[in-house]
């Protein structure tokens, strides 16, 4: 994998704002932190309500999404309680 694929996304903040005010930097840092947090949750397989809402809005507009409590309940149940939901040796 070329190195620039790793470097460029890190610099991508500059593309969005183009400017360098402190607010823009902060917004950008917050975005990056949110992305890292979301990635980390996906790595360890934790429920991610925000992504669920985004998916729901995009694919089932009009329908009522589950509440956070219901979503977490269903997510954990699906992730761990089904055939083949295994960990390795």
């Amino acid at each position: 994998m070329p190195l620039r694929n790793i470097v460029l996304p890190l610099l991508s903040c500059r593309e969005v704002g183009g400017g360098s005010t402190i607010e823009q930097c902060l917004t950008c840092a917050r975005d990056v932190a949110a992305q890292v947090g979301q990635g980390w949750r996906a790595v360890i397989g934790a429920p991610d309500y925000k992504s669920y809402l985004a998916h729901h809005a995009a694919y089932h507009p009009g329908a009522t999404p589950l509440s956070e409590r219901e979503y977490v309940k269903m997510y954990i149940e699906r992730r761990y309680n089904r055939p083949g939901a295994g960990r390795c040796c």
């Binding site: 190195l3 360890i44 934790a46 979503y71 309940k73 997510y75 761990y80 083949g84 295994g86 040796c89």
Partner: protein, 702 residues
């Protein structure tokens, strides 16, 4: 877009890339030269790790790419299951770095930590070479090709794919095989924990604390702050660290100490009862929170160990090759070929990964081409863990290594006797050194703690102790390492028992339909108890059989795991031939052949060798004959114990024969189907019809 375009132009790709790869190759060659030329003086473990990393980088860039582009023809324009079925739950297109982390967390468990530690008795070189060659040409290839097959079949599981491509009979054979392997794996892992915690109040206390801690986390994540895994895990990690620290006072306490001191057979019962109850509790209460906790620790420990090895640069004290390559070693018996290749399973090639590569991972990839990094690269990462485990075992004084890993039948159970026997082998050690090592890590004894975990823990404790905290913290790091392994072994026991239960229900459902209903309480209890009884039998016998234990069960585990890898690679070969890519079939056929040669030879020897140190039946006959003649054979203390040895070995021998038969049957299926496909002029693999995403390459994810 201007910055991106500018930067892209500023980097003259090709020449920089070529320079970079030449550099990696040179560094790798230099590291290997360092290892090869310093045969008579100690080599730093950092060289071993560096050499491995260079091999991984080169393998991923060149061989991995060859397999992905030329053999599998991964197509970035073809829609993946995640895109076709995007449901926001199971099928979710995900960034490839995230899928990599997720996949790695699912494949890496205790396996790559245990096998290499046992294999260290032959020296560090044979193990290292097999881990590196095995992963590049067999393990990573298997993971990648199975991931590819599943990607092209809507994320179907290995069992379903065998059924689709090789027919229902082959599917059932594979299902029975997978169940048997699951039981053996759980038994081996359970035994590792039991051996590590026997007579260790400090360790037992910290592991016991994980259960209520995980339950508190579970309640927190479900009711108090739904879904806040990070907060709950932070709480869990802090509690566990406190528990490790407090454990030393528990061990010394007059009333608490004995309350947490258990013999190995008692702990075997404890883990059996635990397994039965835990796998019937709701998943949110114990399984899910502890899984999050162990994932955190797993990633943390692997990173810390890598940093530790580079900071401390400990010397490898084990020789490159020891005299035990001849098969006379105490840790596992049998010569280098074929036993090294089944002892190190995970880390070189692990059949179990085929189940993960055809599980959640294929449902997450957003591009087919990401499969190389995730499937091939993920396995390289696991191999890296195995190399570090091997290093940690080899930086120990070999005397200590053999004291910890040899069975009591060989080296006795006192430091004096152990020091005498081991010194006679040529690794001079004093009883004081053995006792001092035990004291340093806060244990009464370190003798006969086969199973990898404690050895790795002492090695890690010495590395981490030197890197962070010095001698004073060695005992803390030791128990941290034990806890870390126990944590994911208990998770595996829990999750594995559930998986085994589903398989048993699947099988029983064919005989009597109500037993196959996964929502029926009665069926669940019956299947769970059957599964627990299966692995529990081996765990318990491993603690009471004077000749049994990890040294008996681990070869069985290795054979079964490599056998599953053989089945997966046979499927992969069938698929390649059915796709009319027979020109490249050697990519999977060569590792298949090697695995079959190793597994079948090892299986044959384990079952029928006339040497009772190797052959299950030979040992069983020896003890059963002596028992009927009424002569007592050491180390058994009674005729009843001898009959138990005989029975256990008959069972293990029969299982081994069963595994051999399974592999041969699957190989015959492959040959038949492949010959038929070769005569076909058209591809006949059953893939989901291709669909190109709207907007082509740029489509959905842009």
């Amino acid at each position: 877009m201007s910055d991106r375009a500018l930067l892209r132009d500023a980097l003259p790709n090709r020449s920089i890339s070529m320079l970079l790869w030449a550099g990696v190759a040179a560094l790798g060659a230099f590291a290997f030269a360092g290892i090869a030329l310093n045969r008579n003086e100690p080599v730093s473990a950092a060289w071993l790790v560096t050499a491995a990393i260079c091999v991984y980088l080169i393998a991923h860039r060149f061989y991995g790419r060859f397999v992905a582009e030329k053999v599998l023809k991964l197509d970035p324009t073809r829609m993946t299951p995640a895109e076709r079925h995007n449901d926001g739950l199971d099928y979710v297109p995900t960034n490839k770095y995230v899928v990599f982390g997720h996949h790695f967390a699912a494949i890496a468990g205790a396996g790559p930590l245990v096998g290499p530690v046992l294999a260290a008795q032959m020296g560090y070189l044979p193990g290292t070479l097999w881990i590196l060659v095995g992963v590049v040409f067999a393990g990573a290839v298997q993971d990648l090709v199975i991931l590819f097959c599943s990607l092209r079949r809507d994320g179907r599981s290995l069992g379903e794919m065998v059924k689709m491509e090789m027919g229902p009979v082959a599917g059932s054979v594979a299902l029975v095989g997978t169940l048997a392997i699951m039981i053996i794996i759980l038994a081996a892992l359970g035994l590792v924990v039991v051996k590590a915690l026997g007579e260790s109040p400090w360790g037992t206390f910290t592991v016991a604390v994980t259960i209520p801690t995980a339950m508190l986390m579970g309640v927190y994540m479900r009711s108090i702050r739904p879904g806040k895994v990070g907060e709950a895990s932070a709480f869990g990690v802090v509690v566990l660290l406190l528990a490790i620290w407090y454990g030393q006072f528990v061990a010394k306490d007059a009333s608490l100490g004995p309350a947490f001191t258990y013999s190995a057979p008692a702990l075997a019962w404890a883990i059996i009862i635990y397994g039965a109850i835990a796998s019937m509790l709701p998943v949110w209460l114990l399984l899910a929170p502890r899984d999050y906790l162990s994932t955190f620790l797993k990633i943390g420990v692997i990173v810390a160990l890598a940093i530790g090895i580079y900071l401390v640069q400990p010397d490898l004290k084990m020789q490159a090759v020891t005299r035990f390559v001849d098969g006379s070693g105490p840790v596992f018996s049998g010569p280098l070929f074929p036993f090294l290749f089944i002892t190190i399973a995970c880390g070189a090639v692990s059949g179990f990964h085929a189940l993960i590569s055809s599980g959640t991972t294929p449902k997450m990839l957003e591009r087919e081409t990401d499969a190389r990094f995730v499937g091939y690269g993920g396995m390289l990462m696991e191999s890296f863990v195995a190399i570090m485990a091997l290093s940690a075992a080899c930086v120990l004084d070999p005397g200590i290594y053999f004291a910890m890993n040899s069975p009591a039948a060989v080296i006795g159970d006192t430091p004096q006797r152990a020091a005498e026997v081991i010194s006679n082998w040529g690794w001079v050690i004093t009883p004081e050194t053995i006792s001092q090592t035990a004291t340093d890590v806060g244990e009464h004894t370190i003798l006969n703690r086969a199973g990898g975990a404690p050895t790795l823990a002492v090695g890690m404790a010495q590395i981490m102790g030197q890197a962070f905290g010095g001698k004073a913290l060695e005992a803390f790091w030791y128990h941290f390492a034990i806890l870390f392994e126990a944590l994911f072994i208990l998770t595996a026991v829990d999750a594995g028992t559930r998986a085994g239960r589903f398989m048993i229900q699947d099988l029983l459902g064919n005989i009597y339909a109500p037993l196959g209903r996964t929502e029926s309480m009665f069926s669940n209890v019956v299947a769970t108890l059957l599964c627990v009884a299966g692995w529990g039998y081996f765990v318990y016998q491993g603690t009471v059989d004077p000749l049994g234990g990890v040294n008996t069960i681990w070869p069985l585990f290795g054979i079964s795991n490599q056998m599953l890898a053989g089945i997966a690679l046979l499927l992969a070969t069938t698929v390649l031939i059915k796709l009319k890519r027979e020109r490249y079939a050697w990519v999977t056929l060569a590792p298949t052949a090697w695995l079959l040669i190793c597994t079948l030879t090892a299986g044959w020897m384990k079952a029928f060798s006339s040497d009772p140190r190797i052959g299950f039946y030979a040992l069983a006959n020896k003890y059963s004959e002596a028992a009927s003649a009424g002569t007592l054979l050491a180390p058994a203390k009674s005729i009843a114990e001898m009959q138990r040895v005989a029975l256990n070995n008959y069972i293990c021998g029969t299982l081994t024969v069963m595994f051999v038969v399974l592999v041969v049957v699957m190989a015959l299926f492959t040959i038949r189907i492949s010959l038929k496909a070769l005569r076909n002029t058209m591809p006949s693999a059953v893939e989901t019809p291709p669909a190109v995403r709207e907007g082509g390459l740029a489509g959905a994810a842009a």
